[in-house]
């Protein structure tokens, strides 16, 4: 499994990834979109945000999000290619 930008977050990331990969194949692809890994994601994300701030990437990200927000505006405004 891939590492996290913050080495201290890799463990949390891998726990989340394991949960997500299972959910993706066993639930999402089969039509069940109920989220399952939210708690694991919360912990992992909190760690990553600290790492981003330490590496001063948080401002780069904020600028990028101003131009191209996430989540993107409603998909009805995009044309499917």
């Amino acid at each position: 499994m891939s590492s996290s930008i913050g080495s201290e977050c890799t463990d949390l990331k891998q726990k989340y990834d394991t949960c997500f990969n299972k959910w993706y194949s066993e639930k999402f692809l089969k039509g069940d979109t109920t989220p399952e890994c939210e708690d694991l994601f919360k912990d992992y994300k909190a760690c990553v945000m600290v790492a981003l701030k330490e590496k001063q990437i948080d401002t780069l990200l904020a600028d990028a999000r101003k131009e191209s927000p996430f989540p993107p505006p409603s998909s009805s405004s995009n044309s499917e290619a």
Binding site: K13, F20, N21, L60, A64, S75
Partner: protein, 186 residues
């Protein structure tokens, strides 16, 4: 500006390819992808589309002249936004460089769809636009050329790496299915 386009077919069904996509890294062909982090992820309630925002950390040697031109190091960051629609079997990934954005832009779009004439296979389309801005003045061309070459190289090893990941994925899935069948019959 340099434009890049590549179309490829993977010999696996779309659902498997889309799942393996999340496990593409690490792979031995792509040591330059140092870390991949999920920043945000949700299912759009009205469409059922899974959208994900990721940060990719790339560590790759860059010629000294280019490092000096942009006052940068060997680590760059890329922001990727992806959409997966399981009903239409499309996975789209848009990414752009987060670092060096005042000097240049490398914007890439990747699409995985069920192959139009072979439902058990997946079509992969990769497009990119690489452009160096006016801040680089007479060096813009040099930087664009280098970036385009580097992009091509990374695209090639990316495909090789993903092929290997897909093979392992199938082996694991088959082993897991066999194991489950065995457990059910015992």
């Amino acid at each position: 500006m340099k434009l890049f386009k590549s179309v490829h077919m993977y010999d696996y069904p779309w659902s498997l390819v889309s799942a393996a996509n999340w496990q593409k890294y690490p792979n031995e062909h792509c040591p330059h992808v140092y870390a991949v982090d999920v920043l945000d992820r949700r299912v759009e309630p009205d469409t059922g589309v899974l959208i994900t925002e990721r940060l990719i950390t790339v560590k790759q040697n860059v010629p000294t002249i280019i490092l000096k031109l942009m006052g940068t190091g060997h680590t760059q960051y890329v922001r990727e936004i992806s959409r997966i629609d399981p009903k239409s079997k499309t996975l789209t990934m848009d990414s752009i460089n987060l670092t060096l954005s005042s000097y240049m832009s490398v914007a890439e779009t990747i699409e995985y769809t069920e192959h139009p004439s072979a439902p058990g296979k997946t079509q992969f389309t990769q497009q990119a636009a690489i452009s160096a801005g006016t801040k680089l003045s007479r060096w813009a061309s040099l930087v664009e050329d280098f970036s385009a070459k580097r992009f091509q190289q990374n695209a090639d090893i990316g495909r090789e790496g993903f092929n290997q990941v897909l093979q392992r994925f199938v082996v694991r899935a088959e082993a897991s299915a066999a194991h489950q069948a065995q457990a059910a019959s015992s």
